[in-house]
Assembly symmetry: C2
Homo-oligomer: 233 residues x 2
Amino acid sequence: MGDNNLLTAGMSMTEEQQAMPLRDAVFMSLRKAILTGKIKPGERLTEVKLGKILGTSRTPIREAIRLLEQENLVTIIPGSGARVSRMTVSDLQDVMEVRSALEQLSAGLACERITEQEKAELYEAYNAFVRSTQSEDSIMIADADVHFHNLILKAAKNQKLGKILDGLADNIYRYRYEFIREDGHYEDLIREHKELYEAVISGNREVAEKSARSHIARQWSYIREHLQEDAGE
Amino acid sequence: MGDNNLLTAGMSMTEEQQAMPLRDAVFMSLRKAILTGKIKPGERLTEVKLGKILGTSRTPIREAIRLLEQENLVTIIPGSGARVSRMTVSDLQDVMEVRSALEQLSAGLACERITEQEKAELYEAYNAFVRSTQSEDSIMIADADVHFHNLILKAAKNQKLGKILDGLADNIYRYRYEFIREDGHYEDLIREHKELYEAVISGNREVAEKSARSHIARQWSYIREHLQEDAGE
DNA sequence: CTTTCTATAACTGCATACTATATCAAAGTA
DNA sequence: TACTTTGATATAGTATGCAGTTATAGAAAG
């Protein structure tokens, strides 16, 4: 409890963050720290402390925290303070249900709106994904998977959908590698992607939606499985 | 241009807003002013001016504006200021597509999770809706409609879904009365609601989703129709 | 009359100062 | 011992000041 030096390690503002408003830099910085687990669920976010660490006044910190609350990454108790949100299994279930519906929508819209250019990109991404499964490196596989789905989302050409799905993705960010089996049996995963890829290319909305749904269902079952294991964290 | 006294009329902080942090009171106040059109799309929101009107300093105003940006009600241009968002037809289309998917989800989940108590409430709401159509008062009808759908959303028992749908509803708030026909022919509307009501009560997920979808589709077509009319506003 | 440049006013971004409130602990009371 | 009260401290809530940026109006040139 009160492990404040957990923060100091590796939390900073770098790169192109110079050009943007401070509040956004702080926001990204905090967001990253939360998503990567550098700041743990339940931990308190005090304005002055963070201000000292990041070298800013309280104002940008406050604004960043408000934004994080909107994404459900922190919970603010008025008058008291802000803490990193603790997600229950039930919360995650809610998120996954919504994600399922929206990934279906994404796949469905992509079927009807994808351009030739995007088809080529998707083809590339699909192949990259298949290749990644041979590496048996689950980080690489998960990243290739995310990229593949992002291309479909882009092809769907619905900004609102994109924004919402991005927000939902944050909620399960820390589990993103966990739905990859570790035993090297990726047939199902590849088959699903192949199905989805072909459906989108050929404009078969029904099949595309169905495989998007089963993809999320699989992901959720893996995450849930993992949650059982370390239930008493 | 620069009609600042548009704001003064009827914008204030009242009631139970006393008990909550100022930023939330300001947020609700501004939100209401935007949704009801008291502040018009494209209009500028300046911190000092609003502060004077609402009797607070700039800080709570700033924070409220950031929150409004999250809901897409205002657009912030860094360095410059905040303006009430101007929604294009394309933006609205995006919103309606997502809404359609999520209202379907809502109806579908409600089928499986509704309690006896909630069934009774829904029955009441359905009857109230039918009754309202006889009044031919489109405000009353729209409100009854919203209430009916909110009950279904509540029965779906998915908080995330609820939050997202609430946010989306804000985006089309100003059109909420416009999808009610003015000619007093509400048969279709009533039939849709009856279908949805019965499907949810009997747990027929497929039918429930279908009628939720067609309900949104109808709403969207009415809104779009109306948009044609005053295209050059 | 229109366009471009420039001076000025207005406003946001960030910081800091001040105030209200919540939390925690110690002391007192039943 | 358990419960309540009270006071000190930490922290969020709010206000304001300053600096730098952006918008704007007016003058000058075309």
